[in-house]
Symmetry: C2
Subunit: 230 residues, 2 copies
């Protein structure tokens, strides 16, 4: 079956894609280049698409900096060195307003166009850093939008949204990825990489990744600018 | 109150904006330049923004031609000379996959960023040419997405979606617009304009517009390439 995968170049979307592939689906990658600080993600997504031998990979340019509102697309500083309790107190500044709604809308349009009936998303509720649009109730609401707002939903077989990592811990995701031979070395997690592409090691995303590899007992091939290597 | 208006440069979104302005809201226009054939719309949206004295107008570039799937963004021919019964039999090829979901997602992100609690959309169910994402049940489902998938919905006052023209006929919309002094001459409806910008007069959108002005008993300032002027 044809499946659109929202591929960010990150760990979660890559494990999600590998899972969709193992389930026997034909993969169609959609990556949104939205003016994020960590544009290296887009290049990594291309490499991952090749590694997973996808049928097609579309990179959509859309400059969300025109809208702003997030530390990932503006000059606001990316928070560093936060602990789990600081992280969970509120929705962080790295939240990009309505990003998953937007990405899912794009994936939905792409799925309709190629007649795919599945959209895969790497959303995760456990390590989601407080993003409202990574919660199961949000995804259920979006499926209703997909059912009512598309030709496929009205006339056809519909388009299901799958977020298979939703309730997994980062360590579980990494263990799953290892069992699927995910090319971890190609995945990028850092919100605030150095010009060289080196991961900062201190943003929420780096901290969650490092802790995840540690807890999974698997070695993280990422080179970090700061802190002890995991 | 701050209100984001999805401004396409067309008739419906302009009447919607004029209505939001009369209700006393501060207008923030969002126009998506999505590689549509009728890019003249974007220029018209700019002129309308000036005429309505909006607080800000963002034009977001996003090339949906990478995704394709619609006569409005690809080389498929735009249907011409269809009657009401031919039009309503199926979802037309000018349907852009998941377009309103996408536009609403962008408006939602923009509304969150500027702390607006309203998003206005010119969707219309009467003359909607069979687009699934112009139906009231779709909009209700999207409001749920807005409630669950945004910071404003989770922590704040929420963001309401308003589509005040939803159940009006085109003639009603035009009469409403006339009462609000809408600059009809700036609005563009044609799906397939000539290089000169002249409206074709024969696509669904031109036919619905012309019939609307006729039924409203108001003169349409549009110059058409073909057919008798209304």
């Amino acid at each position: 079956m044809k499946a659109v995968v929202l591929a960010s170049g990150g760990l979660d979307s890559t494990v999600t894609a590998a899972l969709a592939k193992r389930e026997g689906h034909e993969l169609y990658f959609l990556t949104v280049a939205y003016g994020q600080r960590h544009e290296i993600e887009v290049e990594r997504a291309r490499q991952i698409a090749r590694a997973l031998d996808v049928s097609k990979h579309i990179v959509l340019e859309m400059d969300l900096r025109a809208i702003g509102g997030s530390a990932l697309t503006s000059d606001q500083p990316v928070p560093k060195d936060r602990t789990e309790s600081t992280r969970e107190r509120s929705i962080p500044s790295t939240y990009v307003p309505a990003r998953n709604t937007l990405f899912l809308a794009l994936a939905l349009g792409y799925a309709e166009t190629i007649d795919a009936s599945l959209v895969y998303l790497g959303a995760n509720v456990v390590d989601y850093s407080g993003y409202p649009d990574c919660r199961p109730e949000f995804l259920t609401a979006f499926e209703e939008v997909a059912r009512l707002g598309t030709r496929a939903g009205v006339e056809g077989k519909g388009i299901a949204i799958r977020a298979p990592l939703l309730s997994l811990s980062k360590a579980d995701i990494i263990q799953l990825g290892a069992s699927l031979d995910v090319p971890f070395h190609l995945t990028h997690s850092c919100y605030d990489p150095l010009v060289s592409g080196l991961a900062c090691g201190r943003c929420d995303s780096c901290l969650i990744r490092r802790e995840g590899f540690r807890a999974a007992g698997i070695s993280d091939p990422t080179e970090y600018a700061e802190g002890h290597t995991s």
